[in-house]
Amino acid sequence: MKKTYFKNILREIRGSISRFLAIFCITALGVGFLAGLLSTTPDMRYSTDVYYDETRLMDIRLLSTMGFCEEDVTAVAETEGILAAEGGKSVDLLVQLEDGDTVVARVHGVDMDAQREGTAINQIEVLEGRFPENPGECLVLLEKVPLSGTEVGSAMTFSADNDGLADTVAQTELTVTGIASSSYYMSLEREQAQIGNGRLSMILFVPIELLNYDYYTEIYALTEDTAQLQAFTDEYQDAVDQDAERLEKLAETQVNVRRDQIIDEAQAELDDARAEYETQKADAERELEDAWQEILNARAEIAAGERDLSQGRIDLREGRAELERQRADGLAQLEAGEAELNAGEAQYQAGLAQYEESRARIEEAQAELDAASEQIEQIRVLIAAGMPVSDEMRAAVEQYDAGRADLEAGAADLEAGRVQLEQTRAQLDEGKAALEQGWIDYENGIAEGERQLAQAERDIEAGQAQLDEGKAELAEGEAEYESASAEAEEQLLDAEYQIRDAQAAIDDIETPSWYVMTREANVAYVSFESNAEKVAAIARVFPIFFFLVALLVTLTTMTRMVEEQRTQIGTLKALGYSRGAVILKYILYVGAAGVLGCAVGLAVGLHLFPLVIWQAYGIMYTLPDLICRFNPQYALVSSLALILCAVAATLMACLSTLREQPASLMRPKAPKAGKRIFLEKIPFVWKHLSFSRKVTARNLIRYKRRFFMTVIGVAGCTALLLTGLGLRDSINDIVGKQFDELWLYNATVVLRHDGDDQTDFRVRRLLEGGDFEKTLAVHSEAGHAQTEEYRSETTLFIPREQDRLTEFVVLRERVGHEPVPFDAEDAVVITEKLSLRLGAAAGDPIEIENADGETATVTVTGVTENYVQSFVYMTDHAYRSAFGSTPEYTSVLAVSTAETEEQRDDLATRMLEASNIAGVQFTATTQESFEDMLKSINTIVAVIILSAAVLAFVVLYNLTNINIAEREKELATIKVLGFTRKEVAAYIFRETNILAFAGTLCGLAVGVYLHAFVVQTAEVDMVMFGREIAPVSYVLSAVLTMAFAFIVNLFMRRSLARINMVESLKASE
């Protein structure tokens, strides 16, 4: 076309640069926003996929109930579709840091050489420091907030509290040689540990040699699909699922290899143990035998002693009798002796008396004789002298002599008698002495006998004591023997049972199960995926606003431009330019602005938005660098859409003008006629309006297009604000409502086996101790729920005591908080989100599937408010009748008294010491991680609020600007009339404000729906955001919008001031 024509267009652009810029800016904004947000999710996925590929993140992770052997790894690697497989070892261990803190670490044994060469699966990147070179060195996974004591160069020790530490690690001292990142651990969220307090505080990578068990705990596999297919896509997942299926098939046979290996090992060990048992048993039995013999001997001895003792007693008794008898005999003899002696004495005395008498008589006779002697002598002499002696005398002398002789004889007799008497005396004395002696002897004899008897008695007593002692000893010995033998028996029995059990265990060794898990089981992968989806969902909604507004702004601006240039258009037409040529000018104008705007918008938007959101997610993830790709589909679609719409709008504006004749075009367009408005027909209202308000009301109605555009734009702004703020409310709601209002329990204890009373006194003791206010055993099972509409993962939840469920979980309706009953025999209450997704309300049937894949149809009896995860609360009866099996109550809901984190850690540590407790989870911990996760949404909320502000500014500024431009003359006139600056401003801004106000009101209404939509789109299956918007958010959105309007007014005041009154003198163009 003609040169001049283009010159005209270029001049036009230069001359109306602000208008051109307006279109350019709003196009850039709209397209940048739309394309940027739309391509954020693909960029996030792509960047992450590249990162995964670079770091060779496993596609499949295999776990086995019994670990893997080398052959398993080879077998996996050789499976079709598997590119490479690698065995790995990992274990949770308590690690003591330099400052004395003990934390739970997951220790990954990795092949450091392969890592260094980059050939390993799950490649770790050393960000700082170097790879370990010997078993005593390790890498620590980079954390957002690193634990102190995990810096490069610090030392750590595996705590001695670890069970079987010696069997686990080759050495306990570690030195950190580097900080690493791993795509496997991209997320801050961690799996649960089964030791310590159950929380993984750090991840360590150690040379695999450090972990000294002889099997692998897991196998990582890379599939052949991973390089071509992009992670997070269905194609990728389908392909990997197929590989996983092949591995599951492989598992069916391959599991036996490991099983046989284990059985062989175990059997050998058991056989050793049995031999050992046999030897020990023989020893024990022999020892017992000996002991028994000893006891028998002792018993015999005691019997003999007893016999001796009783003999002794008999002897003693006899001795005592003999002694008595002897005593009696002796006494009788002695008494007889004494009697005899007394008789002898008496005889003696009598003899003595006789003797004395005789002696006296003799002496008398003597004396007589002596007295006679002299006479006799004299006689004698006389006789002798011969004298004559009378016969008498001679008789006297003869008598004398005879007397003498008699005397003599008597004296002799007396003498003899005296001698006899003396003899008798001697005899008597002798007898007396003998008697005396006899007494003494008797006494002595008796005493001796007594003594002997006493002695004998003592002996017997001593013997008895000894015997008793012996008996006691024996009894003791026997008891000892009994207990020893019982003990031995028990021990042996025990050992035997153990051996038998062990044998049974070996015989029972089940075929190990393999768990084939794709990346869908990786916490980071799943959460990242769902977050990326959230962005995508939001990206689908918000930019539409900008897009629409961009369109509206372009339409208004171009209409205004065409109207302004009607004279020129008329002239061109009059000069003979075709309609197309005239229109082309405006199309080119808007096209140029649009294309430039799109280019800039894309250039900025495609980088800026993904980057902002990426960085927002950087709070939660260790992310690689973002790779912003040019996503042609989004870029072109959004650019083309916008440009085409703008062109269409321009065309519309042009066509209506071009319909007029050139002549009429050259005349100024008749100003839009004033009209009475409906309000005037309500005199009550109209009369009460001040004059200037009447003017405003008329003006508002007069410019209908501007009215609607402003209202729509402002409404969009308010709606966005309300959505953004409401989204924050909804999210904040979740945490508070779920964890404080709905879940009354604050801890879940997971048991390894059904917590029935017999086997689990320890657990019971822990649960019933002071640590918990109350507990409730529940069966919790991962399952699915589906209707024809939807299939969703869910958790089947069955309380052991049906009537106590509501003590732990509040079942209520979200609106009105009416309690949802759970007392029917077959009560099945599902959570609200599930109900929404399934499209099933109370009374509707749903199909549920348990963890074993069995399905059953149940009838929903109620729907309860719930925000986090989804549940199907069923009664025991309902479960039994649905699946025909008994629920295993392996989880315990508990209300713990632990308040601080320390108390919780302590409690968890104590709980996990019980062998039947697999895990303890505190809702506080979950709550925290939830809050962290939801923080990322806050960034998005901030972006929304910011964009709402931009939107409000753009719309209000542009429309007010046009408003002022269109009414420049009118404004100049009222200025000339003497309106003060304030009054002029009020004249215009009253309209703007009313429009903004109307827009705000509409926006609040629209915002409620937009919020509901965004909330439903942005939430994932497992979370239901709150549906309510806090009143303060309504107020805030309204106030913010009005504030934006006010700020725009402030800006516009300046352009009002710039209006030159001289304009009023000019004719309208």
Binding site: A673, G674, E970, L977, G978, F979, T980, A1067
Partner: protein, 234 residues
């Protein structure tokens, strides 16, 4: 009496690029109170500049402008607004009615902001629009619109009435009747009326005629016997 309005060596320059154009180059004249004054001159002579400065819509760069003892050339923007509001009534060439307001409301638009306004209905009646008060400008003829414009200026009860080519957009007859209305207003209400026009014919009806040429008041003549409008022909 003569110096109700005084222009004393007033200058106004416009800078366009490197050249400075003097739109008013030491203009001096005086207008008496209650006079019907016509400022006449060819296009580009500086009439409008004079009008702008007199109407308080523009400021002068040099010289003094005094109205009724007030030195307008010294007023601040705010004072100028008050000046326009209370002291000047303006009649535009293109009427400058607010399209969205009825005739009455257009008048009220001005009366609303004045201290001692005249009754808008009364003024409209006086300008002969008794039956058209409720009509919107689009429903009025050009002459009728100009009458509304004049009514709007009058009802403010200003000290002067400034009219910028009041007949410029009107046909001959209507122009005449508008001029008649202005002259009548001047006579009856003793208002000072300043009419700016390029139409020499109108000068005959003026009490005072000021000829502007090349930014200067070339000639200022008094007309002791102004011709009634009816007799003027152009």
């Amino acid at each position: 009496m003569d110096n109700f309005i005084t222009f004393d060596k007033v200058c106004k320059y416009y800078q366009t690029g490197p050249t400075r154009i003097a739109a008013a180059d030491h203009i001096s004249f005086e207008i008496g109170e209650g006079e019907f004054c016509v400022i006449v001159g060819p296009s580009g002579a500086g009439k409008t500049t004079v009008l702008n400065m007199l109407g308080g819509m523009d400021t002068c760069d040099e010289g003094r402008i005094v109205l009724d003892g007030t030195e307008i050339s010294k007023l601040t923007t705010r004072e100028l607004t008050r000046y326009r509001r209370y002291d000047v009534g303006f009649v535009f060439q293109f009427y400058n009615l607010v399209q969205n307001l009825t005739a009455l409301e257009n008048v009220e638009l001005a009366s609303e902001i004045c201290r001692e306004p005249l009754d808008p209905r009364q003024v409209l009646r006086e300008v002969g629009l008794e039956g058209r008060m409720g009509n919107f400008p689009a429903q009025l003829s050009g002459g009728e619109q100009q009458r509304v414009s004049i009514a709007r200026a009058l009802c403010k009860n200003p000290k002067i009435l400034l009219c910028d080519e009041p007949t410029g957009a009107l046909d001959y007859q209507t122009g005449k009747s508008v001029l008649a209305l202005l002259q009548q207003t001047c006579r009856e209400r003793r208002k000072t009326v300043v009419v700016i026009t390029h139409n020499q014919a109108i000068t005959a009806m003026a009490d005072r005629v000021i000829h502007i040429k090349n930014g200067q008041a070339e000639k200022c003549e008094l007309n002791p016997h102004p011709t009634p409008v009816e007799r003027i022909e152009w």
